[in-house]
Every structure is written in C-alpha cells, then in structure tokens.
Symmetry: C2
C-alpha cells in the first residue's frame, strides 16, 4: 500500500508517519521509484504499536526506540526478549535502601515470593523493575500506616497471577513470533489501564451492593 | 502531641506540616497557649493520607482539598461519600463520542456489565469516571487493532471484582467510619501501584515457567 493508504488504515496522519520514519521508529517502505514507497501489513502493525506507546502510553521517542530494539532482537529467547522490551518501559525510581520501610518491604516481598512458590521471580529480584516497583509500593503503604497482613498480599498476588495467565494465553494465540512480542508490549501499555478501570468499576459495584446508593 | 512529635511520628517535616496547615489540608491543632498547639491521632492519620496523595499519588493540592472535602462530608452515605472522594481523583479525559472506536467501546462496555450482572454499575454509566476510563481503554485497544473477545474481558472483570471484594473487606475491618473512608482513598492511591507491580511480576514468573530463561 502507499503512504496515503497506510495513513488511512492506521488513522495516523502522513506527517506523523514521516516523522516516525525519520526517527527510525518505522522501517522505510520498499522504494518502487524515486518518489514512491510501498508499505505492507508489517508496517501497519508496527505503526499501531508505535502510536499506542506514544499517544496512549505517552512514552518518549527515545524509550519507544529502545523498546522496539528489544522487540526486534531475535537473537534473544522469548522471556528475555519480552523482559528486555517491558523493562525498557518507564519504571519507578530506585527505592532508598537506607529507609527502614524499604527494608521491611524487601522482606515482605521476598516472603511473598517464597509463599507463592514463584521461584523464577525469586531469581530476578536483583534486576526486575517489577520487583522494585513492588518494594516501592509496599514501602509507601507501610509509611502511611496502611495496615494489612501477608495473607491479603498473597490473595492479591494470586489474582494478578491469574490475570497474567490470561495475558500470556492471549499472546500465545498470535500467529507469528513478532506479533507475540508486539502483543505483549501492547498488552502492558494498554491492558493495564483497562484493568485499573475494571477494578474501580468493580469497587463501585461492590460498594453499592453492600451499602446501597443512599 | 506537639508539632515536633507529629513530625517525627509521621516522617513529615515541620515546614511541610505548616504548609499543609496553611493550605487547609490539615485541621489546626488545639491551641494550648499563643505559641503552642496540641495534635492528636486524628491529625497523624490525616497527615499520612495527605502525604500519600501528594507525595506518592502526586496529586495537586487543589485535588487533595476536594477529595478531603468529600471524605469529611458525613451528610453522605458511604457509597456516595466514597464515590465522591474517589471521583475527585484525576481521571482520564472525556472520550470523543464521534469516534467510531469509542462508540464500539461503549457497546462492549455495556454488554460486559449486562453479562456480569453488575446492575449497580449499569446505573452509573452516565456519571462514573471508572466507566469512562474503561471506554477510553477499550477504544485505545481497538484503535491499535489489539484483538480480543468478550469472554476474555469478562474473565478480567471477574478477577478485578475479586480484588474489589478483598479491598472492601479490608476497609470494613477499620474501626471508625472516618478510617474506613480514609482507608478506601489510600487504597485507591496506593494499592493500584502494588497490583500493577504484582501483575508485571506474575507475567515474568509465568513467562519463565512457560519459556524458561534462555
């Protein structure tokens, strides 16, 4: 397809597509003569991914370039490739290890992983941004005196594990390896806001069931 | 307790406490003489809530003031009081109703609520920011061609409903009505980042279980 059709089918303006091409976020089309390039379904898919990260995920161009670099690196196995792509997404700042709440949070997070039997995640604690985010979130809860027990944390983690199983089942149904990795990145950027919306909606529903509307 | 102890126990500097007092985010202490005021456990709790919203939730002072206004409004029943407080939190922009993906997303969201039997949430669709967030999230997924079916959406929603039941059970264990409402607001600001971290950690664990680390 030509640039105009790529624009129409993706809903992205030709000016924006040219900008993505200049920034190297989209591979050049197949040049058929000096003024015309041809684009294919792979360009369309990539364009949607780029747009999702920039317009919905509000990621900076440099971050998108880094994520795509990992997505395209087929020298890596799937877990590492996915991990590298997802880990390039914006993450929480490093926790302050001198903070007493951070130290407690580390212990709670480690105990949680042991209780759950997440032995793979246990091997990643020194490098995983997700683990770091968990420590930061738990420390913030402790700092404000939000009180909860290990059992509640385990229940939340089990629910999120079931969500992760749904995510990965969905990713596996994609036909090609490239689409699997792209779907996983899109899922992280776009499914998280959906889960948050469903969570708040469920809170409203449950609150009204228990206490009514008055 | 005096200001210095309030600062020590909350971990918030005296300068910041004075700023919150000036901004009306914290009720004045009980004046014992012209230079000294006394603070109690309620001040400590409120200070933690304010700090969580500003430092962790990164909410603007005006928003925090509005949320607290609803938290303190005991003329309202619990669902409405909670709803008003949570709805004052930053929300996604209004969806563009002329957009074809937004119209499709509305239909999908409405069908989802019917399938789930969330009859209370159905009554709130015209005013609930959570419903609006869901429509925006679904439209974004459709726009980038992320393909999923109604069944997957129902499964995600059921998981998030179970999370909401855990949330509300936890809130109900708080002794006073004021603490219940405060815990609910804290939960929304601080539990969401924890759930997101658990979700990403679960994805890493599940991915490694399925594909190994190579």
């Amino acid at each position: 397809m030509r640039l105009a059709e790529l624009s129409r089918r993706s809903g992205v303006s030709t000016a924006t597509i040219k900008y993505y091409l200049r920034e190297g976020l989209l591979a050049p089309g197949h040049q058929i003569n000096t003024t015309t390039a041809e684009y294919d379904e792979e360009h369309l898919r990539r364009l949607r991914l780029v747009r999702a990260m920039i317009q919905v995920g509000r990621l900076p161009v440099a971050t998108v370039r880094e994520v795509l670099g990992h997505v395209d690196d087929d020298s890596l196995g799937r877990t590492v490739r996915l991990g590298a792509a997802l880990w390039a997404l914006p993450q929480v700042p490093e926790p302050d290890e001198d903070d007493v709440h951070v130290r407690t949070a580390h212990q709670e997070a480690d105990e949680l992983l042991r209780t759950l039997g997440w032995t793979n995640a246990e091997q990643l604690t020194s490098i995983s941004p997700a683990y770091r985010s968990l420590v930061v979130a738990l420390a913030a809860l402790r700092r404000v005196g939000y009180d909860w027990d290990a059992e509640l944390l385990v229940s939340y983690a089990q629910l999120m594990h079931r969500a992760a199983v749904l995510d990965l089942d969905h990713v596996e149904r994609r036909p090609s390896e490239a689409e699997k990795v792209e779907t996983a990145v899109l899922g992280t950027v776009l499914v998280e806001p959906m889960l948050r919306a469903l969570h708040r909606l469920a809170q409203e529903e449950e609150s009204a069931r228990r206490y009514g509307f008055e």
